[in-house]
Amino acid sequence: MIKFRLYLNKDKETEWLNSMVRKGWALTGFKLGFYTFSPCEPGEYIYQIDFGDKLYFASEEYRELMSDVGAEIVVLWGWWIILRRKAAEGPFELYTDRESMIEHYTKIRQMLIAVGIIETVCMLMQVMALIQGEMIAVFTTVLLSAFAVGCAKTAYEMEKVISRLKQE
């Protein structure tokens, strides 16, 4: 089964993936918003999403550690690493202290801000093209604006998570 979704907030995405597992669908692949699912036992896995240091890359050390704790890398997409572990092995959390959670969400927030700025610059270039009469640019302007707003909104959500963690 394939579903199309656009998530920028990884916490909401994780929640959705785990709700799919409860219905008996396990994520097996992802490309450009298209999530591929295969049937599984309801509640068989716990999914978690990590944020890597490099694009489309997980180091040997990372892979070794994850496989040692019984986790499997399902998807490497951009900076995102989607992992799963059998629920029978107990609760599955990637980050277990405040300091590392703050670090994790800070990295995500910075990426969203950077991507948001790039999209805004591209969008302004499209607006220039539009002014010069290239009507096709309407489409890309709208698309880029929507993504930039999405990034800004999610960066703000990450900021709220970070300040909540700092107050704890």
């Binding site: 240091d53 050390e61 990372y62 070794e64 040692d68 990637l94 277990t96 202290d97 590392s100």
Partner: protein, 115 residues
């Protein structure tokens, strides 16, 4: 990554302790769990981030006798790591010694009289 290098976070403290002898990632998780009687189970994300940070700071290094690529990666504390740990230990000792002061005046506690 904690912004300041000391005080060490609990995770950093126990990870340094667990690599006083060569240890691999999963071994570190297990040892920390044992040392804290199950109170602290390091998540793999937390551990991986800490290992990366500590390698950058040269507190730990990859330990390998030979270039055996089949063998699991092990980590070992460096001289600098031991120094950082020792400084933290001094700080903790000071805290504990001073904490004993609390017992000295136990008899003349201020009585709070309810209104």
């Amino acid at each position: 990554m904690p912004e300041k290098e000391t005080p060490l976070t609990e995770a950093f403290f126990y990870i340094l302790l667990a690599v006083r002898k060569p240890n691999h990632g999963y071994g570190i998780i297990q040892e920390v769990e044992e040392l804290t009687n199950g109170r602290m189970v390091l998540g793999p994300g937390t551990l991986y981030g800490a290992l990366q940070t500590m390698q950058k700071r040269a507190w730990i290094q990859i330990y390998s006798l030979e270039k055996e690529s089949r063998k699991k990666k092990q980590y070992i504390i460096t001289r600098m790591g031991r120094h950082v740990f020792e400084e933290e230990r001094k700080r903790l000792e000071e805290l504990l010694n001073n904490a004993n002061l609390m017992e000295e005046n136990e008899d003349d506690q201020v009585q709070i009289i309810p209104e």
